[in-house]
Symmetry: none
């Protein structure tokens, strides 16, 4: 149960553990100062080592974001796929997806911030084609869900799914910019406020 069990010392597992630890720090710094604005030295400072030393663990600054983002997206899609596989109705699926998203913000806030701010620029790089792929899957998932909901009578018919998809996508992720895990509201409460607004509107009936 200790963070570093005896049998890990000097092993591949110990190494992976150290990487993960460094990546958590790096993600926080990248999120706080922006990926391209952050210097490797700043990451190293926050990790209590010198800039050059990071290169023992990582090939490059780029490989750090790469690992941060791909890890995050892998986990996220695992959550999403679990939900999608449950075959619920459109409204209920939407609720689950939104709640899962706010959960992801809760657990991977720095990664989400980086994803939100930098993925557009990174996506131009061959190494990050998976960001484009993920965007496409997002779009298919949400537009498909909205269309299904309209067909099935769950959602209003006068909505433009591509536009609404973008609003939902952005609003969810952008919350990573201000959400604080130790703040006034839990991620579930934020999700509920968000759903209240998106599903029923702010207007009193």
């Amino acid at each position: 149960m200790s963070p570093r069990r005896r049998d890990e010392a000097g092993t591949a597992a110990a190494r992976a553990h150290r990487r993960a630890q460094l990546l958590r720090t790096a993600a926080e710094v990248f999120a706080a100062r922006g990926y391209s604005t952050t210097t490797v030295r700043q990451v190293a400072d926050a990790s209590g080592m010198l800039a050059g030393s990071l290169y023992y663990h990582f090939d490059s600054k780029e490989s750090m974001v790469d690992e941060i983002l791909s890890t995050f997206l892998t986990e996220l899609w695992e959550d999403y796929d679990t939900i999608l596989d449950q075959g619920k109705g459109a409204r209920e699926t939407l609720e689950s997806l939104v709640t899962a998203s706010f959960g992801a913000i809760d657990r991977h806030r720095p990664a989400v911030v980086i994803y939100q701010n930098e993925s557009k620029h990174l996506a131009e790089n061959d190494r990050f084609t998976y960001l484009v792929d993920s965007q496409k899957r997002f779009r298919q998932m949400w537009v498909g869900l909205l269309e299904r909901g309209i067909e099935e009578g769950d959602f209003r018919a006068d909505l433009d799914p591509p536009v609404i998809y973008r609003f939902i996508r952005d609003t969810v992720w952008v919350a990573a910019g201000w959400y604080r895990p130790d703040g006034r509201l839990t991620s579930e409460q934020v999700a509920r406020q968000y759903l209240a607004m998106v599903l029923e509107g702010v207007q009193r009936r």
Copy 2:
């Protein structure tokens, strides 16, 4: 009516005109590639001149963003203040503010993108304290409006104004990231979709 009238040549007006032209270009490049990632050389290329030549017109790269953002915010608050001074009800005021915001996105898209992506970092610089001031006014305006709407019975009482304010704020501005003036929908149509969602919800009644 020609873009450069005779009486402007060599005058302060001509100079201001050239500056504005260069700033439009700069804003587009900054918006597309990110302020800190954009090199002065890239701005110069896009302006058809050499990097050094830009310094005839501007003190620094920083003073370019400064002028872009302050011009934008000045105009935006003129619009907002006009609306706020009309003394309409909460719901109607919200509609007008949202519509004005999408209008601003329509007319100043690059500036909005820069504002959205860079203001957090720039605000740490003394030169950009007006960004912090503007944020505060935003917050007061929106939270105040939501609270008034709840009191007056326009908006639902179970909403948390500070949270909803953030959703509204972010979602509006983040639209600058995907909205295209020459796209399928006009800014008014986007505003209407947005209002439909925010006011009445996506759920069919």
Copy 3:
């Protein structure tokens, strides 16, 4: 006794040693070509490294002159204070101060040249207020000494201390411009010629 003892390797002492070495080189180049005319690249070339590498050791070109000048002035005033504390007569004190000054030229020639040529301009910078302070102390020391010597009957009464102070000050330091440690005369011999001229005059009695 070797220039780099084993116990220094990788230590703060080793680092200070390297800095001192680089500063000696920098001082020579600054002295030879003028501070503002010298490029960082020229200093780097003379140090056998690339321009950028110097920034591992120093914050800026300015911090290099800063360290050169402040180190020199600190040492110089230690020497002066030792002499002033001995409570000798005016004439003897003058002799000691002049000899100490030529000794300083001998040991810190490049620093003296820089001090002579650049301090006027550098002093406008907040970082170099100590140059102004030092000038003031110089003036007080020399004018005070001359006045005391006149009172005590060591020096001629028809002298104008503020003017003579300037002549002495300038003549001493300006010698750094032509004095060569490996030249025909030692610094003591130069000091003696100087004192012969200043104390007794060039005229035969």
Copy 4:
């Protein structure tokens, strides 16, 4: 008697007049801020015109110093040659040369300051070989004079002429750095203090 007489307008004389006027301004700025540190724009500002406009009058920044220094040196050597041609004794010649030098400082202070600070660096440039020539003539003049004075019994025999020459040379010119035409002392008074010190020494007999 007006600064610009009618018959000069548009003529070569008028042009020369304007050049001289601009050069006076340039010399002051160069003297105050250092030649290489001064920008052409600063000279232009002080002259009430734009940087580019100066190039109507002068080929380059370099040609400005060139004209300032060569004009000064030409005049100076005319004065010196007049004195040397009078065939006076060594002591009297020394007095006249020193007085003439302080007169030159009085009338051409900025040029002297520039000469003092920049000639070493400029002399490396082919265009300024006359600076080297002038230095040589200086040396010959002063060392010759001192040697003659020793031979003829005017000056002390224990002096080292090359060293004393340098002290005299430097001290005279360096006074340009602090002498103010409108200060407490006239240039003649300063010259007299200087001669009192150099000829008879500061020590009371």
